[in-house]
């Protein structure tokens, strides 16, 4: 007995020393799987004025969460699924689920071996969706991002529910901070936008900066995000289109057209969606907002004082923000139509200090930013704020204002970037109380 004890101690210690890092092999048993959380089909899920989610809560992880009296959707709970605002994919029959899962896996692989099949070679090249890039990205993603963004990019990693705003769910193909023209339809971001998001993080949220990773690593991560986003969006749209919801029975069954040959029906649909959404992504790469050059001289070269034209611009920005205009534009007063087009105060009540929480496209809560706080999530360079105002913030409810005159957007940028700084406000002669 006494002889065995020390040997046992050695035996216990040895594995600790020897195990360390294994090979890169990620179990092939781990797959993305078909989503189980409800699809959010509409962002008008409830009344305004909810409190933000309490820590540890994500409003819709599963359909039954809505039955919890503390859930912000509880009040409307019963009707949410009936009215088609939410759809519960767990209602799909097991057989159909397996079919869908098999098809999605044929196109997108699994976390250990990600791929995007069914897109043409130009798209693969432009979006860098080759297998080497994706598997490198997948490894980095599992190391750095998974605990927030989740294995399938669903924003439901273990940390996800504890932070607010919750991590991005990529499966809608919607991204907030882009430099892509969103004025007609919501578009995916460019690779550059995602790269920048990774480099700078999103200040004011839990999303940290990853600028200590190498450029190659970040590019691989960007490719992998595109992969996850494509996969999620194809899954989303397929569930939405291929299955009929029966409110009476509460089932999702395959639509009329597909009953005869479920596999080929879904396969054709997935194939179509993959190339369609990949095309959207490709298109986005060249659709950068054409921001006109900044028209003002901000500071006097000699005295370093604020120039009169900057002062006027800031004041005009305030009028536009508040939706105040005159019949004819004059001095700092914009015209009525312009002011009506801007009218930021309709959401940013009291410059955002009293804005209310609303549901966003992901079914989580969002609030028009308090703009008297200097933190800008999408970056605080003037051009960042220009992009935000021009094309809105996808998914959050902040609409595009691309119809405004470009110089008026710059006025708004100047005003918004002056707001948080009392000394600047005083110098520009604006009051906000």
């Amino acid at each position: 007995m006494t002889k065995i004890l020390p040997l046992a101690a050695f035996a216990l210690l040895a594995p600790i020393v020897l195990v360390g890092c294994g090979s890169d092999g990620y179990s092939s048993a781990i797959v993305y799987g078909v989503r189980t959380d409800p699809l959010v089909l509409d962002d008008k899920l409830g009344k305004e004025g909810y409190e933000p989610d309490r820590p540890g809560v994500l409003p819709i992880l599963l359909a039954k969460d809505v039955d919890n009296p503390f859930n912000p959707m509880y009040e409307k709970g019963a009707s949410l699924f009936k009215d088609g605002l939410l759809r519960d994919p767990t209602k799909i029959s097991d057989k159909d689920r397996r079919t869908l899962s098999k098809i999605l896996q044929a196109y997108f692989g699994r976390p250990g071996e990600p791929q995007v099949a069914g897109v043409d070679s130009t798209a693969t090249r432009i979006l860098k969706l080759d297998q080497d890039t994706l598997s490198a990205g997948s490894q980095l993603y599992r190391l750095h991002c998974l605990h927030c963004h989740g294995l399938a990019g669903d924003g439901r990693g273990p940390t996800g529910r504890w932070v607010n705003p919750h991590p991005r769910d990529y499966r809608l193909g919607l991204f907030k901070f882009t430099s892509v023209d969103q004025s007609d339809v919501p578009r995916p971001p460019s690779r550059g936008d995602l790269y920048r998001t990774l480099q700078t993080g999103i200040d004011g949220t839990a999303m940290p900066a990853f600028n200590m990773l190498t450029g190659d690593d970040l590019q691989n991560l960007v490719s992998y995000i595109i992969h996850l986003s494509l996969r999620g969006k194809v899954e989303f749209e397929t569930i939405k289109k291929a299955f009929d919801y029966d409110p009476a029975k509460g089932t999702l069954s395959i639509t009329e057209d597909g009953r005869d040959d479920v596999y080929n029906y879904i396969d054709a649909m997935v194939s179509e969606f993959v190339s369609l959404f990949a095309k959207d992504w490709v298109e986005s790469q060249t659709k950068t907002i054409a921001a006109p050059s900044y028209p003002y001289a901000d500071f006097d070269k000699e005295t370093r004082a604020m120039t009169a034209e900057l002062k006027e611009s800031i004041q005009r920005g305030q009028k536009l923000f508040l939706g105040e205009g005159a019949d004819k534009a004059k001095g700092v007063m914009p015209s009525k139509e312009e002011a009506k087009k801007a009218n930021c105060v309709s959401c940013h009540i009291d410059y955002g200090r009293q804005a209310r929480y609303k549901f966003d496209a992901w079914g989580t809560l969002v609030k028009a930013q308090n703009l008297t706080n200097p933190i800008r999530r999408g970056g605080d360079r003037p051009i960042d704020v220009f992009y935000r105002i021009h094309s809105g913030i996808n998914g959050s409810g902040m609409v595009a204002h691309s119809k405004l005159e470009p110089n008026h957007i710059w006025d708004l940028v100047n005003f918004v970037q002056t707001l948080p700084f009392p000394a600047m406000r005083k110098a520009a002669g604006i009051e906000i109380d």
Binding site: A209, N211, M212, S293, P382, I383, T418
Partner: protein, 334 residues
């Protein structure tokens, strides 16, 4: 066979000691100290390491030897043996009789033994406590903090705001214009006010970066440290600087580097960074100076690292600051 235990302990202890001995040669030791005060921290470290190391090895060795020698033997059925022959012989042969006598007296008087092993460490501790005051004062006493220069011979330190959050360092610099005013105009009450307001009030033209801490060589830098969420610990191993950042507090940290690791090649050229020298194409890990978090602060603690860039000169730093500012500007017509 209880002797196995003593062998297990002995081997472990020898392995630990060997690991210690080889670590400087395989890069597991302290990084090069490159601030004006780093030598005093190192001196204290080595001194304390010497004392504790000496007693550690002594006590561990004795313990293992005694365990081996006096382990109960099931066969013989005896629990206590005589002192190891080698020790007894050596002791008898080499110890002068007078000392032998007093040692015997002490050993036979438990009260005296207790006194000896309480007082001796206490004296050593007390001595260390006094000896370290100087080093501590230079690094931590706020009365020693570099301040805005009142006179021409003095230097105004570079002031930077460092905010920790899960899991990154948000770093805010003054604008280049403001920076030049701080450096050149001395003893001006208005500048003093501006200098003091920097940490409290954010300005529109501040330069904000993540995880990149830039200073320059031979010039004091004061960092105003705070945190947005939990406790973090700001650690610059090369500068021998470590300070916890506490929620709700702004804590100044300062140091003066004496070596640089970053040179801008030209006004718009790239920086020599991250251990890579584009001139010689040489790679040198030792030129990468980390800024790390030294307090377990959550899941992402492992990746809460930034970089410290010590520029060669003030001009170098200023060029860099201006280049960052230029990237922030809106697009203008040429």
């Amino acid at each position: 066979m209880g002797k196995w235990w003593s062998i297990l302990f002995g081997v472990t202890m020898i392995a630990c000691t060997l690991l210690f001995v080889v670590s400087p040669f395989v890069g597991w030791w302290l990084p090069e100290g490159v601030s004006t005060h780093s030598w005093s921290v190192d001196l204290l470290f080595y001194f304390i390491l010497g004392i504790t190391g000496f007693f550690f090895i002594l006590t561990e060795a004795l313990m293992c030897i005694f365990m081996y020698r006096y382990c109960s033997s099931e066969k013989a059925g005896r629990t206590v043996a005589h002192a190891p022959g080698f020790f007894v012989r050596t002791y008898n042969k080499w110890t002068p009789p007078a000392i032998k006598g007093s040692i015997a007296k002490v050993l036979n008087d438990p009260h005296k033994i207790e006194m000896a092993w309480t007082v001796l460490p206490a004296v050593i501790l007390l001595w260390i406590a006094f000896a370290q005051v100087d080093a501590w004062a230079v690094i931590k006493y706020q009365s020693r903090m570099p301040r805005y220069a009142e006179k021409n011979q003095e230097f105004t330190p570079l002031q930077i705001d460092v905010t920790a959050r899960q899991w990154e360092w948000r770093i805010r610099y003054p604008s280049s214009e403001r920076f030049v005013e701080w450096m050149t105009r001395k003893g001006d009450p208005e500048i003093l006010k501006d200098f003091q307001s920097f940490a409290k009030i954010e300005q529109k033209d501040d330069v904000k970066l993540v995880n990149e801490l830039h200073v320059w060589n031979h010039h004091p830098a004061v960092l105003q440290l705070s945190t947005r969420d939990v406790i973090h610990s700001f650690n610059l191993p090369h500068m021998r600087v470590k300070q916890d950042s506490l929620p709700g507090k702004q804590i100044p940290v300062w140091f003066t580097p004496i070596k640089h690791n970053t040179i801008r090649l030209s006004a718009d050229g790239d920086v020599w960074i991250d251990g890579y020298n584009p001139d010689t194409k040489a790679q040198d890990r030792n030129q990468i100076w980390d800024l790390s978090c030294a307090e377990l602060c959550g899941w992402g603690h492992y990746r809460m690292v930034g970089r410290l860039y010590v520029h060669e000169s003030q001009q170098d730093f200023l060029d860099w600051l201006k280049s960052v500012e230029a990237k922030m500007l809106p697009p203008r017509a040429k």
